[in-house]
Symmetry: D3
Subunit: 131 residues, 6 copies
């Protein structure tokens, strides 16, 4: 099957179904989103990616909404359309309000601007930041 089609639960081999089942159980959703249906073309990557995501995105020293906002900030910086849509939705589900989103975007915009100002002016690192 060419990788340009999603693999649906009904057509998936057992090791893919096992991952899909764990995603659905963990997130309490009816069906997995397209990202997983495409990754299913490579079962080891599907499994490794899901297990990593599950571990990394679990609340810890940072709570769920902060983690989702960081994910979204990276996705916006990289211009990944799918990721902006899916993690925008995930962040909202985790509690990001529209005002929080507005402030996140303002920070992401400024960081992308000042990253280039620092590059272009070739600013050397201050000793106090280098300890």
């Amino acid at each position: 099957m060419p990788s340009r089609q999603p693999i649906h639960y009904g057509d998936a081999p057992p090791q893919v179904r096992a991952v899909f089942d764990d995603i659905k159980r963990s997130r309490q959703i009816q069906d997995v989103n397209n990202f997983w249906k495409y990754l299913a073309h490579d079962p080891p990557t599907l499994k490794r990616t899901w297990e990593s995501i599950k571990e990394v995105m679990a609340p810890g020293a940072l709570d769920a909404v902060t983690k989702e906002m960081i994910y979204l900030a990276v996705s916006v910086t990289n211009g990944c359309g799918y990721c902006i849509a899916s993690h925008g939705a995930a962040a909202r589900k985790a509690g990001m309000t529209e005002q929080m989103f507005g402030e996140l975007m303002a920070v992401v915009g400024m960081a992308n601007e000042t990253n280039r100002l620092a590059n272009g002016y070739r600013v050397p690192i201050d000793p106090q930041f280098d300890k």
Copy 2:
């Protein structure tokens, strides 16, 4: 003066000193860091950038440490060495612990990975993310 040297307070014209004074007062620091001393080569950009940063980074719906962590996540994604050093320091000053930093980096790493998985598998946006 070529832009490859910092402009120190003592050598700065009045409109640059006014910005430096405001930075020092707002952040309660003795001296501004190199970023501002290099931007001082272009006083309008110095002023505009500082005023934007001051507005954007003020606590609002997101608190200071969350904003600094988002700034850091963008800087790490872009690979801006100066910005990683300075905003790493700023985030720690605002309350980011080493454990929070570790979790932030784990999320930034995963997001950069899955952004490319979504690109390469050409995953279409699910209808529920597109509302």
Copy 3:
């Protein structure tokens, strides 16, 4: 003619036709793909890009499929939708199987992740890598 339309063979000036003819002959295809029909708006860039591609992509110390996979890895990293589609097709034509594509994507994902881990932890280069 605005650059938002392709230039087809029938409407192309002689120096564009000459490049199109060489692409068709080299690749043994009936028609060139859209990339070349848009570059045709700038005949010197069309000619220079085609001659560079022809030289660079010819099998040498690396074979054709390896070169196409490297091209695809860069395009996925940059998020260039057109390039992912066209070089994904070219890599498959050159012999990339779906399993090879899966492994390529796994490597591209990991590299994008660990590039940011190295950035964020500010890892210094080991002396043995710097010889």
Copy 4:
């Protein structure tokens, strides 16, 4: 301990030593490189990253040198200095000759160029690439 210092084997907690031991055994080396000594600040990320790398970089449908070259191509595209140095060394160790490196760089350069030509000319995807 601040994250700006490496964690050496002698100072590492047991779960870090276990990962270091596995890296040394797998790669048959005397000591791990700096990347792992810095990741050791976050033991779960150290463990997850190493296990992912070990799985992803194992020879499969692609051999070791091809995987290292793809890793290097991504690192060069992203401009990650540490990763270019370490994966350049790893690729050479896995069999990349200087001629292969030269051809890899030529492809990486062309891909980064044509990715932007496709962006700027806003080239639509040909139907035959979209199946």
Copy 5:
């Protein structure tokens, strides 16, 4: 109102209308483009971004068309589809001919290529460039 819909003039609060009015007056246009209608979800960012753009894009030591071409070169490098379309139009309106666009794209392509050649060959900065 979710951020996935534009805010039109008729539905906009006074502080948004004030910015829209200033954009329309400054650019002598009937309606603002989508960028501003979406930013309107966050009035402080709308206002700050517009005022910054108005200041930065005003002719000075660089004329309007040069500034728009630099904007376009950055947008093409980043692969921002919206920005390529809108600043491509703005650059043409400011006087960029198709021949100028062709040369701009050729430079953008070469720069993206040679940036990676410099990265991959790890070229040290010549002393004469570092003064």
Copy 6:
């Protein structure tokens, strides 16, 4: 010879000397800069890159300083340290004043910011920009 050392004129094979001679003659300089001395490890890439640069950077519809500024804007966006240093010098040699540099940097910064605002707000392209 490993690619981590420059190849100097005295040690270079004839086809490398021929390129070095042409660079020195065209630019009326005593010695080529490091970029070329490292590319010399791969003579075909050295030759192809120099001939492309010579063609692309020649004054045409855009003059030399505008082309160098576009090159610099791309290099700053990509964070290529070598390229920022060398093309910053080249742009100044071609006539870029410090005021022009300041305005260039302001535009580059704004473009990098608004590129992400457009990404994050998922702004659809206006019909008038899509003709």
